[in-house]
Symmetry: C2
Subunit: 604 residues, 2 copies
């Protein structure tokens, strides 16, 4: 066994000598760019050896790497195996995620039945004896291939005519078969592959995947900040911003679309493919993000009774919103369940079918809003709860996002407080998973009581400005030279957040008539959920106590579901059926919510 | 009986005292603006009495006309009846047609089955107990009215949500019912009427009609010059212009769309209706105009074998080409038959079914290109022939369009040559119908021989610059003070034009296996065809000799057909079936064409 250290993000994993570095990094939760999926042809998964010994350079690497890169120690992660403990430096271009972001969830196998399919055309040129119009000519070949006649907008029909003539009457058409008609999506060079885009529009982060529609392989992925953050940290403040003017609403849409266009441009440059080959997209997000993205009105999402303008699945041309994919590319958004339970949760429900088909499930997608569903004997009930941004480090005195220098684990042994930071750097602040373990340890050490009060007799608890705080890292050991502390206010933020989640879980379990012991699978989705220490979360009462092995920390399940829907019309239908079956509980008017919420705020 | 003289266009008609002036003007071929259809509420059909006596002023007129207008002699044509011979001055604003233009053909009755229908909605507002999305809420009412679920682009779905909320959940929806889906076209105030636009895109003129989709009434109409004339007199030169750059092609489209937008704006201002109410449009034109309008490539129309990019019927959103109708308005273009037999001819074929259903028909739509069809025992064969612009006065030494001062009739009695001009003004030039009667009379008077030579012994034939010419009007009687002449060159132009038409007719009759005597109805369409003197045309050999009563000069049959298709989906289907049945003869490769053409150039 060898220990592989990954810098500068500071992840460590122990692997056997048969594990290549790309796989090792993936297991450590580091998503290296790997456009070709690990077969050595794309040259994107570069790493630089800092210390230790790797397997010999392969011919593939010699081909893909320049001599000066080889001299500097560069290798392709998919080609190299550790022969000793090694320390690797990951160059920024090999990291699709500038911050630690969960863009990958667990995936599973299913049949690929894409919405848009290729069709190779080879036509006879017109002659004076064969005066059929270009479209009529193409349609005959389309009919011979067993498809319904082409339909497209004028731009596409013009393109069909021009490209067929320029390409000497040969082309790959991308078509979307529907009953009685085949939507023309793209006219490409002969033998072109078709690509698709899957997107999870998180309130904070956008996860974007480029997928091969034939093989199902994810060719590229990236996570970028949601550019709307400049206009409001949470969706409520963005809705208020949008409601001030049509221009504001349009701006929120444009900024989103621009971010996707930029990512697509980078993907295409990196993989040397054409945007014209991207013929389909699936986009998921909460209902507000869904409406922002589609340019739908959001006034009614900002005031009771919080009703969506559109909840059913939507499909439209990418060009309608300025998304630069292929000329006639489609965009699909699955059904929203309610004003605060969006298509991203529908997507999560879809992925639960991979982990626990037919089982009793509680699915929790933790974010600024946390959406929860309970599934039992075919019944689905969902709710949304405002867990707030505390788990992303916001509203916490020394909180920060999960970036280098963030404390992500805390251990308390007697007087000793030990912290682990991302990237093994000097502590800068504390991220969501860090504060959760901190509170759990403080509870265990008796520094914190069940009501959330700091025990003032503890030597590390002090009073500043009349408020008590726990010194996590003294100034001497921090990056800033300031003490890093956890305040009573921080504890309250976490109490509110975890209390809201727990209350939602309890109410949904009541609604479907189960208790925690009956839950066969707990699906914990979302970036924070992936890095969450389950033991801490249970000790704090965020989740009911349950066997650890029943928990599945599935990462960005919404993104995984989006990819499934991109690759399979069957999955789209399955998602629609799930959304249609899902009942919705509005917690704000639920009789026992306040009582459950207050109860759930206590620790333990 | 009273004689009504209409100035300044110089038309005269004899009517009985029960005929109002609007009807009188219409019978004389003068289309006064009459937005309300003659019921006295729009005040648009103003005329000014110059001489004679009219019935007493009605209360309606006193209401609609200002005192100073009444003092100046203004009346509403729909309200006034002639009590003596009268001379009326028609102010420019009452004339939709700045030149004499045929925008109206004969119309006939048929069942109105519009493509877009209204649906009144009255919905319950959402409550905390009824959290259905806006679209879901609307769709339930749509289903209760027996329609399939709404489908629209994002802009329309946004509009639906906003308008419903602003209008307190009441609205008139305009929807296009299709199998399984209702396209959302417009969200209007409750109890709004739906309007449609019918357009004939002539190479020279655009005829534009605003139609009430419920009653079928034509609310307004206009004829404007085709703005593309600046870029080429005929479609061949415009195709060459378009082929020089994408920008040129786009410009030709934009200029057309701008002209329509302007006309629509004027209609709406005049009738005090909203463009949002215009929910459907039918546009016909020759294949080149069709492609220009749709932005389709035209390279292939400019070179053999002259193949259309698209020949099948097209339907798309008006917004796709920047046509400013209702937000989701549709535009329908019927099928083209061939590269030089377009949807305007399909529209003419449709109208032949009104005049002579099931009969043996020859339909001739005369223009710069003349399209001809022969219909016999269910068989339809069509061709196009380059008759050139001579009939519109172009390429004729003293030719002009049918505008005031144009000679439109010529009579030769012995030495006397008498001319009638449009507007009874001093002769300025000669228009198409004028030159045809001139040649016919010259042939009868022996000034012209059968081969087209001017008989030099005639005193009115002289030789200038070595070429013979016939003096039609001496300088002393013309507006310019120059002689108006008909040259040998002019005669040749007419020979080529009428020879091409006659050759086409002969070949098509051969193809369907009939002779002229078997033709039960001759449909002569197009502006020129309406003013054409049939006797002259037959004497010159433009048409075979046939009983005059079998000829129907139907005016702008293409425009009439467009209106029918606007009002009836059944008519659209009928037009598609006719186009699909129509065989096409390419005259340029037809074995006997040259022979027939040369034969047909002779007179008599």
């Amino acid at each position: 066994m060898s220990i592989v250290d990954l810098e500068p993000i500071g992840r460590r994993i122990e692997v056997d000598p048969d594990t290549d570095l790309l796989t090792a990094a993936q297991r450590a939760g580091v998503d290296l760019v790997s456009a070709c999926g690990g077969v050595g042809i794309c040259g994107t998964c570069r790493v630089c050896l800092v210390r230790g010994t790797l397997s010999a350079m392969t011919l593939v690497e010699e081909d893909q790497l320049r001599p000066e890169e080889i001299e500097q120690g560069y290798r392709l992660a998919c080609q190299a195996y550790p022969l000793s403990d090694v320390r690797l430096e990951i160059p920024p271009e090999s990291l699709p995620v500038p911050q630690k972001m969960q863009v990958d969830g667990r995936e599973s196998e299913f049949e690929i039945v894409p919405n848009v399919v290729p069709l190779e055309l080879n036509l006879a040129a017109p002659t004076i004896e064969d005066l059929r119009a270009d479209l009529t000519r193409a349609n005959q070949a389309v009919a011979e291939a067993g498809h319904a006649p082409l339909q497209g907008d004028l731009g596409q029909l013009a393109q069909l005519s021009q490209q067929l003539r320029r390409q000497n009457w040969a082309a790959t058409l991308a078509i979307r078969p529907r009953p009685g008609v085949s939507d023309l999506v793209a006219v490409l060079l002969p033998n072109s592959g078709l690509l698709g885009l899957a997107v999870d529009l998180g309130s904070t982060k956008l996860a974007i995947y480029l997928v091969d529609l034939h093989s199902g392989a994810t060719l590229a992925k990236t996570g970028v900040m949601n550019p709307q953050i400049s206009y409001g940290e949470d969706v409520v403040s963005r809705i208020a911003f949008a409601n001030r003017s049509e221009a504001n609403r349009k701006l929120l849409q444009t900024r989103l679309v621009d971010s996707l266009n930029q990512a697509v441009g980078e993907f295409c440059a990196q993989l040397k493919v054409s945007t014209a080959q991207i013929v389909d997209a699936v986009v998921v997000g909460n209902t507000a993000m869904h409406h922002f993205f589609c340019g739908l009105p959001v006034e009614q999402l900002g005031a009771a009774p919080y009703v969506a303008a559109v909840s059913q699945p939507l499909e439209f041309r990418a060009s309608e919103i300025g998304l630069d994919l292929g000329l006639g590319a489609w965009v699909y958004l699955p059904a929203n369940i309610a004003g605060y339970v969006g298509g991203d949760h529908t997507s999560v429900l879809l992925t639960t079918q991979l982990y626990a088909p037919g089982k009793t499930v509680v699915a929790v997608d933790i974010g600024t809003n946390t959406e929860i569903s309970a599934i039992h004997q075919g019944k689905i009930v969902s709710c949304s709860t405002a867990s707030g941004p505390a788990f992303e480090g916001a509203h916490i005195r020394d909180g920060m996002r999960a970036a280098p220098g963030a404390i992500e684990r805390v251990y308390i042994h007697g007087d000793q407080v030990q912290v682990l930071t991302i990237g093994e750097q000097p502590p800068v602040g504390i991220c969501g998973s860090g504060i959760l373990t901190a509170l759990s340890e403080m509870l265990g050490a008796g520094v914190l009581d069940e009501r959330g009060a700091l025990v003032k007799s503890d030597p590390r608890v002090r009073v500043a400005n009349g408020k008590s705080e726990f010194v996590l890292v003294p100034a001497s050991k921090t990056a800033s030279g300031r003490d890093l502390v956890i305040t009573r206010g921080d504890v309250n933020e976490i109490q509110l957040a975890k209390g809201a989640i727990r209350a939602g879980i309890e109410i949904l379990m009541d609604e479907v008539g189960i208790n925690a012991a009956q839950v066969e699978a707990w699906i914990i989705a979302g970036a924070f959920g992936t890095y969450l220490d389950l033991t801490s979360a249970m000790r704090l009462g965020m989740f009911p106590t349950a066997p650890l092995e029943r928990f599945h920390q599935v990462g960005n399940a919404a993104g995984v579901g989006a990819k499934q829907m991109l690759l399979s019309r069957t999955k789209r239908q399955e998602a629609s059926d799930l959304a249609a079956r899902a009942g919705y509980i509005e917690l704000t008017i639920y009789p026992e919510f306040t009582e459950k919420f207050v109860e759930s705020m206590y620790f333990g």
